[in-house]
């Protein structure tokens, strides 16, 4: 039985000092993945663990006219009434994550940094171009959430860096399409979510995102560009071309079950044609 040293830092600098001092440190949000994934009576952690949830700054939610930002230790339940979860479709997506007894404890930081697969809210945050603020003792940097995806579409969480905040630009979204496909999402499995967001300005589409994420994440930037600035309703010709592009790149990347996913992408495009 490996006993770990437990730290409850009260401030970000205190936590960053710990991270730089301890090589083998594990950050803990709500610890729901650890408790769930270890079937044994006794839990096991690396030599040093640091709990993020006692740092007030990591709980703060700030909203300006242009963006919202959440501290990484906000629980999923705390996000229930804020952007983008005031939209009924996103709210339903949030409620599919386990049960409220898990969401009351699980943090958004732990949800996005779980590195075995892309959990349910990840593709929505990717569609919204969420930016992640990482902090280390010597530096801090802001990266697009897509930075967590390696070239094979797998999750590549950054070692011992602290995810401090998640920033999301506030967009007015006209169409949201969210569909769950396949089996389990957590702890693993062939389940995935397809999330697509569109906004329309007058009669043209000025924002379009379509992200698929489960064991791997997929997004076709070129196909998205084709749709942006196209007229709304979408012409059948563009819809066909775009669908073809998705089909090509899904097959090229060998993404899980293209045959199942293509009709769903077709449905998203059909929606935009109406």
């Amino acid at each position: 039985m490996n006993l770990s040293e437990i730290h409850f830092p009260q401030t970000i600098p205190e936590l960053l000092t710990l991270i730089s001092r301890e090589k083998n440190i594990q950050l803990i949000g709500g610890a729901t993945t650890f408790g769930y994934l270890q079937p044994t009576r006794y839990l096991s952690f690396p030599n040093t663990i640091a709990i993020t949830s006692r740092i007030p700054e990591l709980h703060a939610i700030h909203k300006t006219e242009r963006m919202i930002s959440y501290g990484a230790a906000c629980t999923l339940s705390e996000l229930e009434h804020v952007y983008p979860f005031e939209h009924p479709q996103s709210a339903s997506l949030l409620r599919t994550v386990a049960t409220s007894a898990v969401r009351n404890v699980a943090t958004i930081g732990g949800h996005l940094m779980y590195d075995c697969s892309f959990l349910s809210l990840w593709p929505l945050f990717a569609c919204l171009d969420a930016e992640l603020e990482f902090r280390a003792a010597s530096q801090s940097h802001i990266k697009n959430i897509w930075y967590l995806v390696d070239e094979n579409g797998r999750h590549c969480a950054a070692g011992n860096e602290l995810l401090a905040r998640i920033r999301i630009p506030l967009l007015s979204i006209d169409h949201i399409y969210i569909k769950r496909i396949g089996g389990n999402i957590f702890p693993g499995g062939d389940g995935a979510h397809l999330v697509s967001l569109t906004s329309v300005d007058r009669r043209s589409i000025n924002f379009f995102r379509l992200v698929l994420a489960g064991a791997r994440a997929f997004r076709d930037f070129e196909a998205e560009q084709r749709i942006i600035s196209a007229s709304h309703p979408l012409s059948p010709k563009i819809a066909q071309t775009v669908l073809h592009m998705y089909a090509e790149s899904l097959r090229k990347t060998n993404f899980w079950n293209a045959d199942l996913i293509l009709p769903l992408i077709g449905q998203v495009l059909e929606d935009l044609q109406r």
């Binding site: 709500g30 408790g35 079937p39 839990l43 409220s100």
Partner: protein, 162 residues
Amino acid sequence: MNIEFTLNGLQHKVTITSVERAIDVLIKQCGIKSLAAECLDGHCGKCLILLDGKSAYSCIMPAFLLRDRRVETIEHFTKRHEYDLLVAELHRYSSQSCSGYHSAIALMGMMLLQKTKAPQTDEILDALENTHCNCLDPADFVAAVLNAYQKLRTTRKQYESE
């Protein structure tokens, strides 16, 4: 390490290590009888506690996360008038009595009755979902909680006006 937390209104001081689950500390060190550690993955719901007033599974939670928190189990409520009222409503609405999940269901009911605003149907169904109980009809649980809430409010109003 030594941690302190409030359990059912009383301050507790316990010695724990990183390997212990919250449920084991609550049962073995604090003597809580209403919890059961059957699944260790939050699927049976028999380990439900209230953590700072919100539901949580104590079987997937490391004990160190209890530090400085407020924990309640059903033992905290069983001597209260609200509890008797809730149990009576549950019996009235549900022909099936579910012994295995009784503590978890009653705890979720008590959590909802503590609210200052009447709980919404979604919220009540969410709370029931935490218990993973299949024998109680969700509509019965909703009706029982809302009725108990209403009765409590009426009693409180009468008490205030006297």
